[in-house]
């Protein structure tokens, strides 16, 4: 082919670079610069304060370290739960279930398209310790000890939010994994079966390796979603009780809404760095290295 090896001149990229720089790079760097100031809604003056905002974020006397921990915990647990349940459901719908497959797919996917505020309100009602559907049901069948204060006990509130988020997000993950499963040729399984592989070995040595690209995609999506989680926490607990379910994004939202722009941008900058590091790290970890290198 004639076009092979042709290099286009660099100035072809200038319009795109200009737009990207103007609307993405400059505002992003500007935001990071403001993290080193005392910019707030209370005063028109903006003064350089060095690392003061960052020191506050990482000081043990503040609540922000708890926000980091909650975000990490939320991300980790939702990745595990969504991937395991998503993969399980995808396997069921790919091979196990033979009838009404499309109906099940739609049913499992529906929560993913519901607005967060609707899910939040519904589950706040269901998980109400006194009048909620869940505790009423548990008490009705004699399981009073299991009827807990789901969203208001600081020890379990975050896990309740994680459970609801998993319920809502698992359909989306399932769809991606299902698409991945459907690309694996049947021949591999037949060959493995002829070699005497049982179902677990087929899953372990055929399904998982060939599904790795899809698993990598869902892991990256889950990591980035988990670190940036906001809506479900805001709708269900608004960070409470106390500070028990506060995450980075609710902290950023509150800092900005209280007019503490400097602090908000500092928190946002830290989030930005974590996102880049986590996204890059996950891709490097899961991306298979080319053979022979």
């Amino acid at each position: 082919m004639q076009n092979v090896g042709i290099r286009y001149p660099l100035y072809f990229a200038i319009p795109a670079l200009l737009l990207y720089g103007m609307f993405y790079i400059v505002p992003s760097l500007g935001g990071i610069a403001y993290a080193f100031t005392d910019w707030s809604s209370y005063s028109d003056e903006v003064n350089f304060v060095g690392l003061k905002n960052f020191i506050k974020l990482f000081s043990p006397g503040e609540h922000y370290l708890g926000y980091f921990w909650n975000t990490f915990l939320f991300t980790l647990v939702t990745i595990i739960l969504k991937t395991i349940f998503g993969l399980g459901l995808a396997l069921l719908l790919n091979e196990g279930v033979k009838r009404f497959v499309n109906v099940y797919r739609v049913l499992i996917y529906i929560p993913a398209v519901l607005p967060f505020i609707v899910v939040g309100l519904i589950f706040r009602s269901i998980l109400n310790p006194a009048t909620g559907l869940l505790n009423t049901f548990l008490r009705a069948i004699g399981l009073n000890a299991v009827a807990m204060q789901w969203l208001v006990d600081p020890r379990i509130a975050l896990y309740s939010v994680i459970f609801v988020d998993t319920w809502k997000g698992v359909g989306y993950i399932m769809v991606i994994l299902l698409a991945g499963l459907q690309t694996i040729p049947r021949d591999y399984y037949e060959a493995a079966e002829m070699d005497g592989a049982n179902a677990w070995w087929q899953f372990r040595y055929v399904t998982v390796p060939l599904l790795m690209p899809a698993i990598m995609i869902v892991t990256v999506l889950n990591v980035l979603y988990g670190i940036r989680v906001f809506d479900i926490v805001y709708a269900m607990t608004n960070g409470g009780p106390g500070y028990a379910t506060e995450v980075l994004q609710t902290g950023i939202f509150k800092a900005f809404s209280q007019g503490q722009y400097g602090l908000g941008t500092a928190l946002n900058s830290v989030l930005f760095v974590i996102l880049i590091a986590a996204g890059y790290g996950v891709i490097r970890l899961l991306d298979p290295k080319p053979v022979g290198e």
């Binding site: 209370y42 005063s43 208001v152 409470g240 009780p241 028990a244 509150k254 007019g259």
Partner: protein, 432 residues
């Protein structure tokens, strides 16, 4: 084209133009004022007045109601991003006006409005910054005091009388609990109500430590150093731990207050003095005089807590309809509209304007008279930088009740946030 046909066409066109011009789409666009308001601040009486205002002027009011626990976040985000509604609701109080709303930038000066001179001076002073009046307080701030309302029948059944000390309060609450009655209803989930147990006791703090508010405002005293405040919070934690607020306080809501208090299973509720009228309104089988009141007894308080600040209407300085918004406030303060608003609202006894007939019951009048020499102004109004952190204090108190913080840490956090707010506001008492 023949002449008759041309004439016919011209006539038809003229008729069509006149007809189209008369249709609404060609008339001046109708003005709709947007008004962001906390769900608990918008009373049915104002909705009715807004409809009447629309009928009279053609100016509609679009109420944008926000739940209490998110109100200030949403409001401040909108103000800070320059996207506030034409009118917005806020809590008056000079520090709030400066810090929460930055009224000098975000609100319209209403000093020369016809109703401004008529508003009660104590109430108006809470909406005034640098001699300029920025808000209309459309609320009963003078008869509206937060007290512990108690069910007289339950108290009589167990031989109880209103307590005058914390020890008495604890003993009677324990007796109620032992008899299967939940002593208190406390809606913590809203995030603001349980905070009242703290700054509303300002008169008691002031009684024990005279001049404390002035010292705090001059940055010569700290919340964390005050033993009465520590006692107040320690006792609040104790009554929570003893189960006096019931098992579901963390998910109970203020909206369910009358329902919760209607079936005689809960004995007391710390609420505004008009709560019994509120209850009677929702449950006509319950009479307002079935309930009595006593002052919050934490830290052995016997002082009545007065707060001249309250929910207030502001006009957003960036509004395209400032004249119409002023017209709406003027309409609200017409004597007949003030009276209609007061009469429609069971929680209110009076409004801060002259010439209206107040609704104090003989019992409440007697209660107010009994405390006429033992009253003071609450600390969220008396002490700077307390009210702007109301919801933060709420989070700290919830953390304290659930064992994530100690009472001393809550007080230290209040001091820390006061320092931050004062520094941000370039308060000379902090920056010098």
């Amino acid at each position: 084209m023949s002449r008759p046909l041309l004439m016919t066409l011209i006539s038809a066109t003229a008729v069509a133009v006149i007809a189209l011009a008369a249709t609404p789409s060609f008339a001046a666009p109708k003005v709709t004022l947007t008004y962001q308001v906390d769900a608990n601040w918008l009373k049915e009486g104002e909705r009715t007045l807004a409809k009447k205002f629309e009928e009279q002027t053609g100016i509609a009011i679009d109420f944008q109601i926000v739940p209490s626990d998110q109100y200030f976040n949403v409001l401040k985000t909108k103000l800070n991003s320059g996207e506030a509604t034409d009118l917005f609701g806020g809590q008056s109080g000079v520090t709030d006006l400066k810090l929460n709303y930055n009224v000098a930038k975000n609100a319209v000066d209403l000093t020369d409005e016809p109703w401004a001179k008529l508003e009660d001076p104590l109430v108006a002073s809470q909406s005034t910054v640098d001699g300029k009046l920025y808000g209309l307080t459309y609320w009963d701030t003078l008869g509206y005091v937060w007290v512990v309302n108690y069910n007289k029948a339950i108290f009589k059944q167990y031989g109880l009388t209103p307590p005058t000390t914390y020890a008495e309060f604890k003993t009677l609450s324990q007796k109620l609990l032992d008899n299967g009655i939940q002593p208190l209803y406390e809606p913590i989930s809203d995030g603001w109500h349980h905070v009242l147990w703290f700054p509303e006791l300002g008169p008691r703090f002031e009684q024990v430590t005279p001049g404390l508010a002035a010292e705090l405002n001059a940055n010569k005293a700290k919340f964390a150093d005050n033993p009465t405040m520590l006692t107040d919070l320690t006792q609040l934690k104790e009554i929570y731990d003893l189960g006096f607020f019931g098992q579901n306080a963390l998910s109970d809501t203020f909206a369910d207050r009358t329902k919760a208090m209607s079936d005689g299973k809960i004995a007391m509720f710390m609420a505004q003095s008009a709560f019994p009228q509120d209850l009677h309104h929702d449950y006509p089988n319950i009479n307002a005089d079935d309930f009595g009141a006593f002052v919050m007894p934490l830290a052995d308080n016997q002082m009545l807590n007065i707060n001249p600040a309250g929910p207030t209407h502001f006009i957003y300085s960036g509004s395209q309809h400032i004249a119409e918004a002023k017209q709406y406030l003027d309409f609200l303060t017409q004597p007949e509209n003030l009276q209609a608003y007061l009469d429609s609202e069971p929680q209110f006894f009076t409004l801060p304007f002259p010439g209206i007939k107040s609704k104090f019951t003989p019992e409440l009048q007697a209660f107010m008279d009994a405390h006429k020499d033992a009253r003071g102004v609450v600390y969220q109004t008396e002490v700077n930088y307390v009210n702007p952190q109301w919801m933060d204090i709420g989070k700290d108190l919830t953390a304290m009740l659930t064992g994530q913080q100690t009472p001393a840490e809550v007080l230290a956090n209040v001091d820390k946030r006061r320092g931050e707010l004062a520094e941000a506001a370039k308060d000379p008492a902090w920056t010098k």
